[in-house]
């Protein structure tokens, strides 16, 4: 398994645990009142589980499993893959930060732009790997 995939998959496991714990806190709050501020976790729970867990795991697994190039680096430019990882995770952190704190700057917009950059890089890295090696 290549290093970028290992990073993305491990990060996704951390996000999964974080997301489940947040969800559990909100569920317990429905049974026994903890604090009204607990609902601030809802948008973070959604961001962490969808982008951090599901999307990050699928991107990391696709980078590992899709057909490799027969010539040159087997998965293309690995530096771009690292930029994709940093960009996706910065995006998640920016969106979460915007939910938690009120900034003068639009952190959520910056976060979504980072996430868009990561997805764009994912497409660039994988477009030519969607092939078949069969000749007939």
């Amino acid at each position: 398994m290549p290093r970028p995939s290992r990073w993305m998959i491990r990060l996704s496991f951390v996000y999964l645990l974080t997301g489940i714990i947040m969800g559990a806190l909100m569920l317990i709050h429905k049974a026994y009142f903890i604090h009204s501020v607990i609902w601030i976790l809802l948008p973070i729970h959604i961001e962490v589980t969808i982008f951090g867990w599901i999307i990050q795991l699928t991107l990391g697994t696709a980078y590992y499993m899709l057909p490799r190039f027969l010539e040159g680096p087997p998965r293309g430019n690995s530096s771009l893959a690292y930029v994709m990882i940093v960009s996706l995770n910065l995006g998640i952190i920016f969106v979460i930060a915007d939910s938690l704190l009120s900034f003068a700057l639009p952190f959520d917009l910056a976060g979504r732009i980072f996430e868009l950059t990561a997805v764009g890089l994912f497409v660039v890295l994988h477009w030519n790997r969607i092939v078949t090696y069969r000749t007939n």
Binding site: M1, P2, R6, F13, L16, L17, I20, I21, A31, L57
Partner: protein, 147 residues
């Protein structure tokens, strides 16, 4: 495909159907069930998507123990049991908490939360050591053969 993965995927398919039934009910104004919206989303995202990811990753990621049985795949089986028990308890207890003041529903809802966290933890324990490079995989295989 190991038995535990097949069970994950089949359980996932059941939740997929149930979630879409909930989705249909949400669109019918005459039907008003408590907590239907969070149940719809969690049957879809935890019951279906997360379970199919877990089942397939347990099967496809490197380092799987190919011996069948609970003892050989205990973390995977525990994940399946804890997650599904937690989710089923939620399906029952979350609407009931809205309807009834009986203390038992609150206790079951807390149990559901704890079970799902435990399920996430056992998945983490199963999968974390399996995320390795080819070199690490070869070393692990060599160690297994030697022992």
């Amino acid at each position: 495909m190991p038995f535990v993965s097949r069970t994950f995927v089949k359980a996932g398919m059941i939740y997929f159907v149930l979630s879409l039934i909930a989705g249909v009910l949400l669109e019918i104004d005459a039907v008003s069930l408590p907590a239907l919206m969070p149940l719809f989303w969690h049957m879809l995202m935890v019951g279906w998507i997360t379970q199919i990811i877990m089942g397939v990753s347990i099967w496809m990621f490197p380092g799987r123990n190919r011996e069948e049985g609970f003892a050989n795949q205990k973390w995977s089986w525990l994940t399946l049991i804890l997650l599904n028990l937690g989710l089923v308890l939620r399906l029952v207890a979350e609407p009931a908490v809205g309807y009834s003041e009986a203390h038992i529903w609150s206790v079951l809802l807390v149990a559901s939360a704890v079970l799902q966290v435990a399920g996430g933890l056992t998945y983490f324990i199963e999968m974390w050591p399996r995320i390795m490079s080819k070199k690490q995989q070869r070393k692990k295989r060599k160690r297994r053969r030697e022992s």
